[in-house]
């Protein structure tokens, strides 16, 4: 018969008591070789993916060099209902944002 443990008289551990040694594997199935594999995920007909292809600026707004050239980039992010493309042109080092506007909407001025 095991005596009940009085926690008040259990000596305070000087070493670490929270460490545990769980059984673990770090094993994950091997991945498919990348060579010859196309990335998968959303379907190609996903409307956001299609819109990305259509809306992405192709040329630098400043010098008109192609934005798919080495060192240039156009990354899409969303701000509210807008698709915004953050652009950097390697030819002229212009960096800025391109946003497609489908409808011009202003703020109502403050009034009584």
């Amino acid at each position: 018969m095991t005596a009940a443990v009085d926690r008040n008289v259990v000596p305070v551990p000087t070493g670490l008591r929270v460490r545990r040694e769980p059984r673990w594997t770090n094993h994950m199935e091997p991945v498919t070789p990348v060579t010859g594999r196309r990335l998968s995920g959303n379907h190609w007909w996903d409307p956001d993916r299609l819109a990305h292809e259509v809306d992405m600026p192709k040329f630098c707004p400043s010098c008109a060099e192609p934005l798919d050239a080495e060192g240039s980039i156009a990354v899409e992010y969303w701000e509210g209902e807008h698709r915004v493309f953050h652009v950097r042109c390697h030819a002229c080092d212009w960096s800025g944002e391109v946003k497609r506007v489908e409808r011009m909407v202003g703020h109502e001025p403050p009034h009584e």
């Binding site: 095991t2 005596a3 443990v5 305070v12 551990p13 000087t14 070493g15 670490l16 008591r17 929270v18 460490r19 545990r20 769980p22 059984r23 673990w24 594997t25 770090n26 094993h27 994950m28 091997p30 991945v31 498919t32 990348v34 196309r38 990335l39 998968s40 995920g41 959303n42 996903d46 956001d48 993916r49 990305h52 292809e53 992405m56 798919d68 080495e70 060192g71 240039s72 980039i73 990354v75 899409e76 992010y77 969303w78 701000e79 953050h86 950097r88 390697h90 960096s95």
Partner: protein
């Protein structure tokens, strides 16, 4: 969102790829000094290529392409000699420059050996790790960052992950994930399982900022109830381009290292130098403590009851290579955008035959100091350190007890008498596992 071609270019690290060419301009840690003292040859896979790394009898290191240029057997199963690494198959020997010096079965007068050269990189030790450079000559200087060369009590947790290194790096410029992954999600787990999640990580981000610097991107944040005067904004901490992040607080000085093994595997290391304010002397160490920490349980599920386990869950579940053609970034992801822009810019410089302009130096130096906040999230130093130790991968470190003792000694040295061993244990007992351990102890009695 990225085009597929761009995503592939940003994630492919092999030889001859634009990113691979850029990454070959940097030094990488590939082994612990301890390992090569125990056995002098190690197989290394780095940037999609295999190498044989060896320790020379004079104490230096060499690294060559793994396969012998003779009959293509592995030099990892070779013989270390004064002159270099000798192939175990037919005895060809290569020095640290890759020059073949001897071919025992060939006649000396043919000069055949003189005409055989295998690729050799450069290798040297720093901070208890062996670093290699496998890019074009001449190699830049090995950057001697503060964490590696400053006095401190050092320990290194590491694991190999089945994912591309870029998704780990993008996490380093994504400050908002802290309040969710390590805040709200952690708190949810704690509520379900009966432990305390560290409250400091639950504070809301009011503002985040990113500044380009010579070593990468300096990341700043203002948390709820804090201001730009706090270290988290005034000092911040940097992503160290292209594969590290300097982080810490309260005397924990850490470099998070993500070595690209190949396109779909990354060796991730958390190199900590414990230097709590108040102490100037630290326990003697022959080597930094190194240990592999777990991130999957026996059923193959992610271990998410500690900080880095949560990060790893996010990195690995994105897939071996994150399909960024399906992502939807927001304004809060500007750090990620900035990093991609920096990679493209630096890749283009290398393609033009130039050096990268970020994260590289050719100036000899003894030490490079990096900015890193001390006052982290506005939490008491000792409380922060103890929660970092017990709620991070440090919980698996064989040196955990020593590190804890160090922070308590430092608190005492600073005149903070509140932190006793009992107080530390009480705090740490609120964290994961204590109840489970205590229940096991009770049932065993």
């Amino acid at each position: 969102m990225l085009k597929q071609e761009l995503n592939e270019q940003l994630t492919q690290v092999g030889p001859g790829t634009p990113m691979g060419d850029l990454l070959r301009h940097y030094w990488y840690p590939v082994a612990f000094v301890r390992e090569l003292d125990e056995w002098p040859i190690k197989k290394v896979r780095l940037l999609g290529e295999n190498f044989a790394l060896w320790k020379q009898p004079d104490g230096g290191y060499g690294i060559v392409t793994e396969l012998c240029p003779h009959r293509r057997a592995s030099l990892v199963y070779g013989v270390v000699e004064e002159e270099g690494l000798r192939c175990g198959y037919h005895g060809w020997i290569f020095d640290e420059t890759g020059q073949c010096l001897d071919q025992p079965a060939e006649r000396d007068e043919t000069g055949f050996a003189d005409r055989v050269q295998t690729f050799a990189g450069e290798a040297e030790a720093m901070g208890g790790m062996v670093w290699v450079y496998v890019g074009p000559s001449p190699a830049p200087e090995l950057p001697r960052f503060d964490v590696y060369v400053d006095e401190g009590f050092k320990d290194v947790g590491h694991a190999t992950l089945p994912c591309n290194w870029l998704q780990i790096m993008e996490n380093s410029v994504d400050p908002h994930h802290v309040e969710w992954l390590h805040g709200r999600y952690f708190k949810f787990l704690g509520e379900q399982k009966g432990y305390l999640a560290p409250p400091g990580f639950q504070k809301k981000h009011e503002k985040v900022g990113f500044d380009e610097m010579e070593w990468g991107i300096l990341k700043r944040r203002v948390l709820e109830g804090m201001s730009e005067d706090n270290d988290d904004w005034a000092v911040g901490h940097p992503l160290v381009f292209p594969y590290c992040m300097r982080v810490g607080g309260a005397g924990i000085e850490q470099m998070q290292i993500r070595v690209p093994i190949d396109d779909t595997h990354t060796w991730t290391l958390f190199y900590s130098s414990h230097q709590p304010p108040g102490l100037t002397e630290f326990p003697e160490q022959v080597y930094p403590t190194d240990y592999e920490f777990p991130w999957l349980d026996e059923d193959g599920n992610h271990l998410v009851d500690y900080i880095e386990g949560q990060d790893i869950m996010a990195w690995v579940t994105q897939g071996d290579i994150n399909d960024r053609t399906g992502e939807h970034l927001g304004k809060s992801d500007i750090g990620v955008i900035m990093l991609r822009k920096m990679f493209r810019e630096q890749m283009a410089l290398v393609a033009e035959g130039k050096d990268p302009t970020v994260g590289i130096t050719r100036e000899p130096h003894d030490r490079i100091g990096l900015p890193c906040e001390k006052d982290k999230f506005g939490v008491d130093y000792t409380e922060f350190a103890l929660s970092w130790l017990s709620m991070g991968n440090g919980r698996y470190s064989p040196s955990l007890d020593q590190a804890k003792k160090l922070y308590l000694e430092a608190a005492a040295a600073r005149g903070d008498s509140a932190w006793t061993v009992a107080a530390a244990d009480e705090l740490m007992s609120k964290f994961t596992g204590f109840d489970e351990v205590r229940a096991n102890e009770d049932s065993a009695q």
